[in-house]
């Protein structure tokens, strides 16, 4: 009985999909995103960017070198920190960051994604994405360093302003399709009735809010270099810092998957079949490619924009993004009322 339960848990498909997609895939996407961020910024600034480690791959191996260096570097644990929280929080951040993947179906079939038939999957996934910023506050608090605490404080300001916008904007498709089920939302957008086209206001608000709440470049406020040294991560070195840095990119990737599903039509022009290849692999790949494009566009913004100050970002949140999200919500209700989707 016990053995059977354990075996069932081990062989549970979503667990494997979370592990493989969450750790390997998300790590790969994070590396590509970091590489693209550095390379695109260099291109726009008429530089070359990472090059000499592997000239044929465009310097991609430099990111691998950075990772190996971080993993093998000394880990400094200052005497003043709260040791348990200091060591456990980065791991917890990574785990909590990957959790929403368990509730995001990448294919409509229950056979491959048991959550596909689950109502409220969008709501649960969104609720889980709001957890990691809270742990970032814990991270800064555990370091007991003034820069970390200031960085955490900024993070908490930013959460208050932008999580609301993100949730409101991403729930707009649920309002227009009258369902919280991600599979239903995607199927409603077949073939090209994508909500990014029908409801651009909510899409823009969601994009802004994701940029902000994952502290992507134009809104890199918690770890702004010139004001607070590295924000909540000031005291972290070696592998602990690599976990933190990777966690941010993975979080952005998960948000991008949600956006690709609910706004960009998921596997939309394609109609999944029943066998594993056409029913599972191809729809998943289509969603991942769409999500990767969203992540790369977010990375590209680093090359164009300078960083906003905290007050400017909060101003933009409350005066620009929140009305935008509310307008998007209203527009989606109109869409539902007029049976446009």
């Amino acid at each position: 009985m016990v053995l059977e339960t354990i075996l069932y848990l081990i062989a549970y498909p979503p667990l494997w999909q979370v592990l493989i997609l969450g750790f390997v895939g998300a790590l790969l996407v994070a590396m590509v995103a970091i590489w693209f961020e550095r390379k695109a910024a260099a291109r726009v600034q008429r530089r070359i960017g990472p090059y000499w480690a592997s000239p044929r791959l465009g310097g991609f191996m430099i990111i691998v070198a950075d990772m190996i260096r971080y993993v093998t570097q000394q880990v400094i644990i200052p005497t003043t920190v709260d040791k348990i929280a200091f060591l456990l929080t980065p791991v917890a951040v990574l785990v909590v960051t990957i959790l929403p993947l368990a509730f995001i179906p990448l294919s409509p079939h229950e056979l491959y994604w048991p959550v596909a038939s689950m109502e409220y999957s969008l709501l649960i996934a969104l609720a889980l994405t709001t957890l990691p910023p809270l742990l970032t506050v814990v991270l800064g608090w555990a370091s007991s360093n003034k820069f970390s605490v200031i960085g955490s404080l900024r993070e908490s300001y930013v959460i208050t302003a932008y999580e609301l916008v993100a949730v409101l904007a991403i729930l707009a498709p649920a309002a227009s399709t009258l369902s919280f089920n991600i599979v239903y939302i995607v199927e409603a957008q077949q073939p090209v009735k994508w909500l990014a086209i029908l409801n651009p206001l909510a899409f823009l608000a969601a994009f802004l809010a994701v940029l902000m709440s994952t502290s992507a470049f134009p809104f890199e406020i918690p770890e702004s270099e010139h004001e607070v040294v590295a924000g909540p991560y000031t005291e972290y070195s070696g592998i602990l810092y690599a976990l933190n840095m990777g966690g941010g990119y993975i979080r952005r990737f998960i948000y991008a998957i949600i956006i690709a599903l609910v706004f960009l039509g998921g596997w939309a022009p394609y109609t999944p079949g029943l066998d594993p290849f056409t029913g599972f692999i191809i729809p998943s790949l289509i969603v991942l490619v769409k999500a990767s494009i969203v992540v790369l566009v977010m990375s590209f913004l680093r090359a164009v924009y300078g960083r906003y100050r905290l007050d400017q970002a909060l101003d933009a949140a409350w005066r620009l993004a929140l009305p935008l999200a509310l307008l998007g919500l209203g527009w989606s209700i109109i869409l539902a009322y007029m049976n446009l989707i």
């Binding site: 695109a40 291109r43 726009v44 008429r46 530089r47 070359i48 590209f300 090359a303 164009v304 924009y305």
Partner: protein
């Protein structure tokens, strides 16, 4: 009349339309440079800059021209150049060894100002047109009299090819291979 400080408040520039327009402009510039980057970056070990003559690089000493006037050591602003006494044997009078003074240079202090080259009355010192040589120990940087007469080895030459930089009217600084 005591000076009084008055606060001015700045108006917000532009409206919503202006903001959207400038954001789109910024993105367009970024995309334009992303598609056509117009780079002029030096791929350093594979290429190196060939500086024009007159560049103040490492200094080389020609012993035969030196008249031991010590003007170079006197004018050196950072006291990098020192005179060493050397006993020399003249081939015509082998029984009478003479004491002569020659300059040696300390690259730990040299600031490459070129005063010593300028003041030398017999042009016994000259600049090489490069400065990209680094050292791993402090002792190597105090040149002996023999080392001061040789041009320092330039590792870039063996690894790469020379380029020159020119100013183009339209594109700005451009790199040109020799």
């Amino acid at each position: 009349m005591p000076a009084r400080v008055s606060l001015k408040s700045l108006k917000r520039r532009g409206g919503l339309f202006e903001g959207i327009k400038s954001n789109i402009q910024a993105l367009a510039v970024g995309v334009k440079y992303f598609i056509d980057p117009q780079r002029s970056t030096l791929l350093y070990p594979k290429e190196y800059i060939e500086h024009r003559p007159g560049y103040r690089g490492f200094i080389v000493f020609i012993k035969d021209k030196c008249i031991s006037c010590a003007a170079c050591a006197r004018i050196c602003p950072s006291a990098a150049m020192k005179m060493v006494r050397v006993t020399e044997v003249d081939p015509k009078h082998p029984d009478k060894p003479r004491q002569k003074q020659y300059p040696v240079i300390n690259y730990q202090r040299c600031i490459f100002c070129g005063y010593c080259v300028d003041i030398c009355p017999t042009e016994a010192l000259y600049h090489t047109p490069f400065q990209d040589v680094v050292y791993e120990s402090l002792a190597d940087m105090f040149l002996t009299l023999e080392a001061f007469q040789l041009e320092p080895g330039r590792p870039s030459v063996s690894e790469g090819s020379p380029v020159v930089y020119e100013v183009d009217e339209e594109r700005g600084l451009i790199k040109r291979r020799r």
